[in-house]
Symmetry: C2
Subunit: 127 residues, 2 copies
DNA sequence: TATATTATTATAGAATAACTATAACATATG
DNA sequence: CATATGTTATAGTTATTCTATAATAATATA
């Protein structure tokens, strides 16, 4: 099923457009607005809706694909993968490390960090 | 006391130089190689050691300062702050959210994420 | 006091990354 | 066949990052 994605582009954000798309699609998956097997709009279609170039959408899709979050179906459409891929990537660990270091340097304790992550997870779950 | 910072610059990294410096200084703090009150080398000195421009070091220092991780002493030298600042920032939370969403979309469970973060913290602690 | 060291600000330019604009091609769908 | 898709290619623009110099004010030191 093709879902109406809830993606909002902020051209004043310091985050690149393709990362905004990437992050919001992962958010849609985390909050079950997108589920295993759901089909993403074509890069051209989404680009038109968001009023940006299709190459920018493509960049987001490629990153999702690289991380095993979506797969290309034989009908040439991108589909949300099941979570049982083995792509649980080293880059994510690197991001976690940087995040944890920053938090520790800011004075968060171990408990602060764990609690913060738990709070974030449950707030995502309740969306 | 001025510490010999252990910072390695990778010019082939996809991460900007100033973020590499920022992240490695937070790492030095997290691993207690830098402690409250320690003085950072001047931006010119560190730039010379790393063989980069001092503005690039400055950019890292400014970000550390913005996040309350270092403060400018009255002797015009940057000093590691005590962790009791109230800068525990919203941007960090945003980064955590993106990280958690990405992890969930990759198929990590809540427990996976918590355990991963815990593992990372203790591995940092043992450095 | 004089000199050196520091952060800060300013300006300019180069190199890289991000974004846009078109076009073309192969493949799958209807 | 006609349409829609992902992919690749090329080119150009804009934004970010990094470099290069220079100047100023405040602090430390000799």
């Amino acid at each position: 099923m093709v879902k109406a994605l809830e993606i909002v582009i902020d051209r004043n954000s310091e985050q690149p457009l393709y990362l905004q798309i990437y992050n919001q699609i992962t958010y849609n998956i985390s909050t079950k607005k997108l589920n295993k097997g759901d089909i993403l709009p074509s890069s051209r279609t989404l680009a038109e809706v968001l009023n940006i170039n299709f190459h920018t959408v493509n960049q987001a899709y490629q990153k999702l694909r690289t991380n095993g979050i979506i797969v290309l179906g034989k009908s040439k459409k991108y589909v949300i993968a099941d979570g049982n891929n083995s792509e649980k990537g080293t880059k994510l660990i690197e991001k976690e490390k940087d995040m944890v270091n920053e938090a520790l340097a800011m004075g968060y304790t171990e408990n602060d960090i764990i609690e913060s992550v738990k709070r974030i997870i449950s707030s995502i779950r309740s969306d």
